[in-house]
């Protein structure tokens, strides 16, 4: 298309060609998202011209690109402004005042926001002078410093609703990442260097501190040895499902003929979780080393880091780290003289939570809408990226691999508890005095110690009302609940014990036994000022927005649940609403293609069950509020252009019939 070729600067063209080269030659489609990012960076938005140009560039049809532009919220089809502000509206930020931030920012910038009730994405509003634009976005993965927003590509933490006008003018000064030194209950392994004053993310600093030694050690081991060490370590995935990493790895046949891919899932987006962000930003080489060891162990010559689109700086840091590692021959051709060629590429997401689901991520990496695949048959270890065997691991999980090589699987397994080994990073946000991240030995700290000792407990004069222990999809637990758990006794035996919420050890099995899950390690604390209908509504809005829309129960149910809680908040709750909410959630969980079904159903199921009174109080109306009819009959005829005139066809029967010849 000569029209646009003139618009494409040589810099942009080179950037796009580079992006295309990062994927196999017959898989150009994978470059669709990088190209869309580049286009938007250059032109501010992706209009129809961009859609057509990129489609042609990648030998695709325009619809293939249009599908992406409209699926991923970060891609805009209309221009925003020079200063685009994205305010996080998800739970921890909303609790910390992000709605107030939005209101004040709009007032300061002269923006009138129209809430499009029937729209899909949170709409972008532009100020009358065109200088500012603003939108709500879903979780920016910085819940510990809530409320947060992004101004252009920069994250602004701890935004003071009273001081938002500063956002519009000079925002640099607002950055305030002050993490206190590690708490005595912590065991820092992965986060050893996070927050250190003398630590920088460059390779020199990393090498000075023993960096890449474990990679050097690993390449001297056989592949099976490494996989066995990981198996022995008992490492469970830190992304949410807690699947044993070594077992996952052993699905890859040692004599696999097809190429094997390793994907690092850096799409951290479960509300309440903000650990991978710090690894990527502050200790990128730890991640790269973990990926390289894993690639070597799995004979994966290509690794992709799928990093969420809201981490633009993180993506740059990782790009730089990869280049630094290449300069030192830790990756590239003949890595460390082993004869093993390995490449790692960054692939940026664009604001879709579902890309955290591994098969959704793979589809997205293939340049498609992130529709999770059905399993069976599409288990990633068999039919993953490009239908090749693929391992998808979380950022933190891959970092642990480095430490397992360092310590040996057996030693590593001594950390934590049986079947819940190692350390893990727990993120605490919400109604606590010192929100933040804490690396603990799995199960060595109770929820009570975590909330009261480490995170400082609730604010003065408040009490903990409920805790969501593993990211917003985990079932909520009430502060006054009692749980029956099998716990290790002082004499070493296991016995069932009746415990309070705060006595639950922070590990996979205990939280599962308590009816929730450790999930991604995002602990959200709710104090006694919180309205549970409001809280659930906030969570429901997140999941209704993030449902990919592929399969029926989640697509229809997530929005339905949100509409019910919306109505309850507006005072229109009817008697049957709590029951409807529960049964709608029941009809989603376990019936969908991917675990998103559970993720969106569990909050509703648990909130309605555990805070019955609050939900019943909001559901007092005997009948629903009157609603206008959707279409009047005349409107329908109009809409469908129904012809009312008789048919024009006349085959001549009538004439012959009257002539008596039939």
């Amino acid at each position: 298309m000569d029209l646009t070729n003139t618009l494409i600067s040589t810099g942009l063209a080179r950037k796009m060609d580079d992006a295309i080269r990062r994927y196999p030659a017959d898989r150009k489609r994978s470059a669709a998202m990088p190209l869309l990012h580049s286009w938007q960076e250059e032109f501010g938005f992706i209009g129809d011209e961009g859609v057509r140009w990129i489609a042609e560039k990648l030998d695709l049809q325009p619809i293939n690109i249009l599908e992406l532009v409209t699926f991923y919220p970060m891609f805009r089809q209309a221009p925003a402004s020079k200063k685009h502000i994205r305010v996080c509206r998800t739970l921890s930020c909303a609790m910390a005042g992000s709605y107030e931030v939005m209101e004040k920012a709009c007032a300061a910038a002269g923006i009138v926001r129209h809430r499009d009730e029937n729209g899909m994405h949170n709409p972008i509003s532009v100020s009358t002078d065109g200088k500012y634009s603003i939108e709500f976005v879903e979780c920016l993965a910085s819940c510990g410093t809530a409320p947060v927003c992004m101004v252009q590509d920069e994250l602004i933490e701890n935004v003071e609703p009273g001081a938002v006008s500063a956002l519009l003018t000079n925002h640099q000064s607002l950055i305030s990442h002050h993490q206190p030194p590690p708490h005595p209950l912590e065991h820092r392994l992965i986060f050893k260097n996070i927050g250190r004053a003398d630590w920088t993310p460059d390779i020199d600093c990393y090498l000075r501190n023993g960096g890449y030694e474990q990679l050097r050690n690993a390449v001297k081991m056989s592949r099976t040895e490494i996989v066995n060490e990981v198996k022995t370590s008992g490492l469970r995935g830190r992304g949410g499902a807690g699947f044993p990493c070594g077992v996952k790895w052993s699905f890859i046949k040692p004599d696999e003929k097809k190429p094997v891919y390793l994907i690092c899932n850096a799409d951290e987006s479960e509300p309440g979780t903000f650990k991978d962000r710090y690894i990527i930003h502050e200790d990128p080489h730890q991640l790269i080393e973990g990926i390289l060891i894993s690639c070597f162990a799995l004979n994966a010559k290509t690794g992709y880091i799928y990093i969420r689109g809201e981490f633009p700086e993180g993506a740059q840091i990782l790009e730089r780290a990869i280049e630094e590692a290449r300069e030192n021959n830790f990756l590239g051709q003949n890595m460390l003289g082993t004869g093993f060629d390995v490449e790692i590429y960054i692939h940026r997401g664009a604001g879709a939570y579902i890309c955290g689901e591994e098969t959704g991520l793979i589809e997205s990496l293939e340049g498609k809408r992130a529709y999770p695949r059905i399993k069976p048959p599409y288990f990633p270890a068999v039919l993953g990226l490009y239908m090749c065997p693929t391992i998808v691991n979380n950022v933190e999980t891959l970092c642990h691999v480095k430490h397992i090589v360092d310590m040996g699987g057996a030693n590593y397994a001594r950390l934590g508890r049986p079947n819940n080994t190692g350390t893990r990073i727990v993120c605490v946000s919400g109604d606590v005095q010192r929100p933040g991240y804490f690396e603990i030995e799995v199960g060595a700290v109770t929820l009570g110690q975590l909330i009261y000792d480490m995170a400082g407990g609730p604010r003065y004069g408040r009490n903990v009302k409920a805790v969501i222990p593993g990211g917003s999809s985990a079932k909520v637990l009430r502060a006054d609940e009692r749980f029956k758990l099998k716990l290790k006794q002082p004499d070493g035996t296991m016995a069932e014990q009746d415990v309070s919420l705060f006595e639950i050890p922070m590990d996979f099995d205990s939280l599962a036994a308590a009816g929730s899950m450790a999930g991604s390690g995002g602990v959200i604390v709710l104090d006694d000022t919180r309205d549970m209908v409001w809280t659930l509504n906030n969570i429901n809005e997140f999941y209704a927005h993030e449902s990919c829309g592929q399969c029926t129960p989640c697509r229809e149910g997530s929005l339905w649940m949100k509409k019910i809680t919306d109505r309850m908040l507006l005072g229109g709750g009817v008697v049957q609403d709590p029951d409807t909410l529960k049964t709608v959630a029941d009809n989603i969980a376990g019936r969908t293609i991917c675990a998103f079904g559970e993720a969106c159903a569990w909050p509703t199921q648990s909130f309605v069950e555990k805070f019955k009174n609050e939900f019943n109080q909001r559901s007092q109306k005997p009948a629903p509020p009157a609603m206008p009819p959707e279409y009047m009959p005349g409107e329908l005829i109009d809409h469908d252009k129904i012809r009312t005139a008789p048919l024009p066809r006349n085959p001549g029967w009538e004439e012959t019939a009257t002539a008596g010849t039939i």
Partner: protein, 553 residues
Amino acid sequence: MSEQVLAPPQLVNVQINGVWHQFPKGTRVIEACEQAGSYVPRYCYHKKLSSPGNCRMCLIEMGLPKMGPDRKPELGEDGKPVINWMPRPQISCAQDVSEGMGVRTDSPLAQECRKGVMEFLLINHPLDCPICDQAGECRLQEFSVEYGNAESRFLENKVKKPKNIDLGPRVTLDDERCILCSRCIRFCQEIVHDDVLGFIDRGSHSVLTAHPGKRLENNYSLNTVDICPVGALTSSDFRFQMRVWFLKETKSFCTSCATGCNTIIGTREDMIYRQTPRENNAVNSSWMCDYGRLNFGYLQSDKRLLQPEILSGDKRIAAEWNVAITQAAVQLKHFAGWEIAILASGRMTNEELWLTSQLAKVLGIDLIDIVPRTGPTDDILFSADRNPNTNGARVLGVTSVPGTRLRDIADGIVAGRVKALIALGENPIDIGLTIAQLKMLPALVVMNILTDDATQAATVLLPSFGFAEKRGSMINGKGRLQRLNRAVRGPGQARDDWEILRDFIQACSDRNGIYSIEDVFRQMSESIPQFAGLSLSKIGDLGVQVLNMEAIP
């Protein structure tokens, strides 16, 4: 066609709703259930397309044999494997049966799943069945009767989506009715290789669309309407024309090219409203092209010939049938066989071609051929041979290489050697003759269905039937004998072609003895080895392979 000798398929034992059945390995669970008499409702699954598993309507309970410590299935009291039921429901559309598998299609859990999915599909679906073309053949309607609730619990506003969108020249989309099953998208990608449809936006707001720069205009677009389980995709041609429950359905096949896609013709009161493809895996799978599908309008056009006519002096006048036929015979009797040519058609049925060859024999005519019609093939269904029955014409000896004798016919007429022409379903102008040359002919007997230049020049005009108005057989391009059935009555005084030809032969020879089209077929089967032992009724709905095309050079 030589049947390949296949090894007997490996069978596996599957328990469906408590009863053990055997199925060939590779059978989809959903198909196995259907074969066992337990139909599992589905929206996204289509056996000719890939399985995305997105509608979740076919959720069932599934189990695999419980393995003992020796890795062998544990056997129950009945000697059959004990089944370990999975706690979560499974979709039945994406998995094949396996040895010892158990399926429950009607358990409380399976019923609850269906009910749940039905409710979800309906909450945002408009209640516009009274004006929806799909009503009457809508899976959403049917399954909601079976599995839905009478009352809605949905108290919110429905999601509004675009309506009445022209996706292309022949397909209209109503996004509010769409249940996002993606059948149409997959059809375009997998069958037509024209990636033109897609979903835009996300979640409950997802809508089907085509990019404005590339519309749904491929020659197979109307198949998306057939496979759309709801009223989202409608045929712009059929839209709002007729309620489907009024349609009489006649099994037939398409005569627009040599493929002969099997069809159902939907008619009411002698009016054709639509043609839809009928599954025949030896011919057209489940599809047909738009061109063939919509190629019936001419049958009801006002150009139809409705009345036999003869030339009286220099004026053409309407005539009774017996007068017209006699007139034709009288005109031809003036000439020797070598002075007469027959322009036959590859669109004629075998029966008509057989009678044509008999007519030629009676009149001693040697100069006979059909008009070939060719064009580019699309390598899907549309054949390069646009005549539906070239093979029939070959088998019945009306032509050997179609078109090779047309030159002789035309030259003969121009040179005056040929003095009489019988044009059957073809326009002599198409072989290079001019209207003036035709008008010079002392005898021009034309049998056709639409008026054209040649019919104007005819000395005897015999109006006949179109493909949907008659019975008969044809041999498609792959050598399969197929049967046309009458869907509508012919218009006016037009008559069935075979009857006209029979009467013509009678008038020329005083021979008699054919009373029905079955008689014609019997005669044919007695002389033509390919038809030996066959009859019209034996052809059946799916046809019979009669030629081995690989053996024909």
